[in-house]
């Protein structure tokens, strides 16, 4: 088998689960004799060239849009390819109408474009099946409030042959009669949609092209080229995607591209409850500890959230560098920070609600409604519907804010139900001309708040009066029955992360050991008591079939110190098991890989004395 096939097969893996599902569903579908409905909804139309209107007709009225400094790099050049396509014959009924309406999105679509540092939002409304109106909001400065946006509107008529612009100006109320009477101000697009079709001085130069922009990758792009900007030699192009609309346009020097699009007015539906909206994006709904990997010197971080009341929430951030307590107040439409203090000895503040109510605002963290382009204390909202991947999982519907200087770019991601889930900081590399990753902090796990005490370099340690565990991998009582050690978490499959829990059978208290560096995905796998205060623990990689065990340590459950047993084992040697012989000695099994591919190995045994 050739290497490519081999790798692709390995990458795809076993498909029997999917196969079973497919066959079952096919049989169900045929049994119920229902034709499976085609899921591809062609009811979406595409917005088009309102910007052709802006740039050509309105050029003099919006100078600032054109004067942004070049922000695009070469990577944005699309792959434009002429493709042989059958000529689209006009149908008898309505000519090219069916194709032309695809260039506007459905009623209510809101699309936001970015040009340099300013943002333009286009809202599409269908006035009838032949008339469509675009309402355009231009923010010509990043920190403008919404009252200083310019608003104007374009109206288009779609005939059987072409799309005509019939109005440009302040948004007005229209009747069909009035619209019918308006003459064409200019033709935006003419059928047939094929390479070579001319529209005035412009021309379709590609259909089915592929285009990658920050928003995403499209593979059905129609490209129109031609015309001229008065300030540049470059020929402008417009890229639009059937079912989306314009996604990019202008020239490389003065251009704009789509940054977000919402087809069903998600954000405005939440108009009624900004308070809940803000809460859900910025804080978890319940008190909890959230654990992060990465961060400064890769030390990870913990954020503890406590709701002091419905409107006041406290967050304590531990990041190895220090512990900071912050308290926020959530009003009808804002989140404000009212308290911030470094905690030295883990004693957070203890203010009453009436005291909290009297604290002044230190800083406005966020306001609703959210609009892309809003700025808060140096952070710009760049996305309201983004996606982000973290160790814990992939989040959708994410708010993304950005802070950018010449040398430094920082981005924060907020997901509903979780709050901040990722922070990226990047440094500008002059050689490559790009921002490159510096430090990233992302969510790894979370759980109920537990009382953390000083741990060791392998484990975070928590002490609790109560602790619930469902699945037990292994349970062992100490020699004199004063304590019980429990490994819980993996249960059933042999993959996954455990916590080591020590139950003091005399006091009833629990001590929980959680592996500190979650990014490494190591887990305690096996335990064996030495005496009432110490046990052997094997800690190894949690996943996969190559690992046979891990490294062996002695953990002291009184002072939580941990010591490796073998100082100089290689990554080919792993301790598989350890067992007490009853006489103070312990037998361990060690697996040793002999080859570089970790395919062949053998097992050795050894004896340890607890005196070592």
């Amino acid at each position: 088998m050739n290497e490519i096939k081999k790798q692709l097969m390995a990458k795809i893996g076993d498909t029997s689960e999917q196969k079973t599902r497919v066959i079952k569903r096919v049989n169900n579908a045929l049994d119920s004799k229902s034709q499976k409905e085609k899921k591809f909804a062609w009811g979406y139309y595409v917005t088009f060239a309102s910007f052709i209107g802006i740039f050509v007709v309105g050029l003099l009225l919006i100078p600032k849009l054109m004067n942004e400094q070049a922000s695009q790099n070469e990577d944005n050049l699309p792959v434009v390819e002429p493709v042989d396509d059958p000529i689209q014959e006009p149908t008898e009924e309505n000519g090219y109408y069916d194709d032309l309406i695809k260039f506007f999105p459905p009623n209510g679509t809101v699309a936001t474009f970015k040009s340099g540092n300013s943002y333009t939002t286009v809202e599409t409304n269908w006035l009838s099946d032949r008339y469509v109106q675009e309402t355009i909001y231009v923010k010509d400065c990043v920190s403008c409030s919404s009252s200083s946006t310019r608003t104007f509107s374009n109206v288009f008529r779609i005939t059987n042959e072409e799309i005509q612009q019939i109005y440009y100006g302040d948004p007005l109320e229209w009747t069909i009669q009035k619209l019918d009477q308006r003459p064409s101000l200019g033709v935006q697009l003419t059928g047939p949609i094929e390479v070579g079709t001319e529209i005035g001085i412009q021309k379709i130069v590609a259909i089915d092209a592929e285009l990658s922009i920050d928003y995403g990758t499209f593979s059905n792009v129609v490209v129109v080229e031609g015309g001229a900007y008065p300030t540049t030699q470059e020929i402008p192009r417009t890229y639009y995607v059937p079912n989306y609309g314009v996604v990019k346009g202008g020239t490389e020097e003065f251009g704009y591209e789509l940054v977000s699009i919402s087809f069903d007015n998600e954000v405005t539906d939440k108009e009624n409850d900004y308070n809940s909206l803000l809460k859900s994006y910025f804080f978890p709904p319940e008190d909890m500890d959230q654990f992060f990997i990465g961060g400064f010197e890769n030390g990870g971080a913990k954020v503890q959230t406590r709701w002091l009341s419905g409107q006041f929430v406290q967050q304590i951030s531990y990041n190895g560098g220090g512990t900071i307590e912050r308290i926020y107040k959530i009003t009808e439409n804002q989140i404000v920070e009212i308290y911030e203090n470094m905690i030295e000895d883990n004693q957070p503040s203890d203010l009453t609600i009436s005291e909290l109510e009297q604290l002044p605002t230190l800083e406005i963290v966020m306001k609703a409604p959210f609009t892309i382009g809003d700025v808060f204390e140096g952070w710009t909202l760049v996305d309201t519907n983004g996606q982000v991947s973290t160790m814990y999982g992939v989040f959708e519907d994410v708010l993304i804010v950005e802070s950018k200087t010449e040398n430094y770019l920082s981005r924060r991601y907020f997901a509903t139900g979780f709050g901040e889930v990722k922070i990226e900081s990047m440094f500008y590399n002059e050689e490559t001309g790009k921002y490159e990753e510096g430090v990233t902090t992302e969510l790894a796990s979370f759980g109920q708040i537990m009382n953390e005490v000083v741990g060791n370099y392998k484990f975070r340690v928590f002490e609790e009066e109560q602790y619930k565990y469902n699945s037990i991998d292994e349970e062992e009582t100490s020699p004199l029955n004063t304590k019980r050690a429990i490994l819980h978490g993996r249960a059933g499959d042999f993959e996954g992360i455990n916590r080591l829990v020590i139950e003091d059978l005399e006091t009833g208290k629990f001590t929980i050991y959680k592996y500190r560096y979650e990014g490494e995905q190591n887990t305690p796998k096996d335990i064996e008591w030495i005496d009432e205060n110490r046990l052997y623990v094997i800690i190894g990689y949690a996943y996969g079939t190559v690992t046979m065990g891990g490294n062996l340590y002695i953990l002291n459950v009184e002072d939580h110190s941990i010591t490796p047993v073998f100082e100089d084992s290689t990554n080919k040697e792993e301790i598989m098991t350890i067992g007490a012989n009853g006489d103070g000695t312990f037998t361990y099994k060690k697996h040793i890989y002999e080859d570089e591919e970790f395919n062949v190995g053998h097992i050795e045994e050894g004896i340890l004395s607890s005196m070592d």
Binding site: I4, Q18, K19, V22, F40, V241, Y244
Partner: protein, 174 residues
Amino acid sequence: MNQVLDERDFQQIMHEHTDYLLKLAYLYVKDWPTAEDIVQDVFITFYQKFEQFEERSSLKTYLSKITVNKCKDYLKSWRYRMHSLTNSFSTKPKNNRNRLIEQDEKLEVADAVLQLPLKYREVIIYYYFEELSIIEVAKQLDLSDNTVKTRLRKARILLKDELKEEQWEVLLHE
């Protein structure tokens, strides 16, 4: 419903071809739920339009062709737009790689292939994964064999850019 296709035969056909069609669909759409949907669709279509299968080519070729067409339809549709953003964020493998062999991980070629733009990925799929000849690839894709050769060449160049030296050596010998 047609009487020509025996129920048992149909189950047998599904049993034989599902795995293969799933893999093929996945290589196009890069998303399992979608791949499953598409393969389901293929069998339902096949069942209902059985008379149209003229047996000019093998059943496998026929089903493959339907599958690929449906994949391409999907890739052109708006659903794909929503998904392509997800794909670009979740390419980090999380829990299913064994760290001990991660440094020696040899699936970079597969990763690079999956990242190729569709028209290059397609020829790689047909030529290497389905192991068809140039002429067969040309027939499947309705292209001239010169076009296929050109695209393969270009695909290899794109892969070479993505892969490190030793991995590229491997491909040269294919």
